[in-house]
Amino acid sequence: MAVRVQTEDFDVGAAIDAMTRGATGIGSLASFVGLMRDHAGGAAVSAMTLEHYPGMTEKMLGDIEAEARRRWPLIDCLIVHRYGRLAPGDRIVLVLTAAAHREPALAACQFLIDWLKTKAPFWKQEETAAGARWVEARAEDDAAADRWRRD
C-alpha cells in the first residue's frame, strides 16, 4: 500500500517497473495519469497552483486505497498526487493498480481516480489572462464517484 503527496514530478515508467519487478504474480497493471490542461471553460490557463490539507490528504488517500483493496483482489496499488505550482502539460496525479487479471486492475484504477477527485482535500487555482480563479467542483465528478457507492 502506497500513497505519496509531493511537489516533485514522478516517472511513470519507473513507478511501473518498481511495482512489477520481481512480482511475477501480476498479470495486469492499469494506470491513470492526470495532466494539467492549458484551457478551462473557454479560457487559456497559463499555470495552476494545487493546495492541499497535509495530514487529511494522506489519510483520505489511504482510506480510498483501503476501500479499493476491500473491493478487488489487488496485488499492489500506488497513488501519487502533486501539489504546488504546475504548468500546462505537467503531470498531476498517478494511479497504478496491479492484479492477477485485468478486470480488478482496470475497475480499481477507475474507482480510485473517481473517489480521489471527490474526497481527497486538494484545491486548484488557475491563472488566466483575467486573473487567478479557484476551480469549482463539477457535478460530473460527483456523478462519477456515485457510480461506486454501496449503500
Binding site: 492526470g34 494545487l50 493546495e51 492541499h52 490539507y53 495530514g55 487529511m56 489519510k59 483520505m60 498526487h81 498531476i92 496525479v93 481516480i113 480521489l116 477527485k117 471527490t118 474526497k119 481527497a120 482535500p121 486538494f122 484545491w123 486548484k124 487555482q125 479557484w134 476551480v135 469549482e136 467542483a137 465528478d141
Partner: protein, 83 residues
Amino acid sequence: MKLRYFAWLRAKTGIAAEQVALPDGVGDVEQLVRWLIARGPGYAEVFRERGAVRVAVNFDYVGFDHPVRDEDEVAFFPPVTGG
C-alpha cells in the same frame, strides 16, 4: 481547538489557521459556525452559503451536527477539486 481554512475560505478569513479555546455553549460544528459568524464579516461571508462549505474534524468529513471538543482540529473548506 485548532481551526483551519483552505482555498477561497482562507482568503475570506484572512488566516490559514488559528488556535481558539472552545467557546462556552459550543458543543457541535453548527454552534461553532454560529460563534465564528459573530466574530466578523469575513467569517460571516464564508458561511453565507452553508452548502458550499465542507467540514472535517480530525481529518474526517463530518456533518454540521458533529460534536466538537477543545482538543479537536476543525477544518473548513470548499468542495475538493483534485485529481
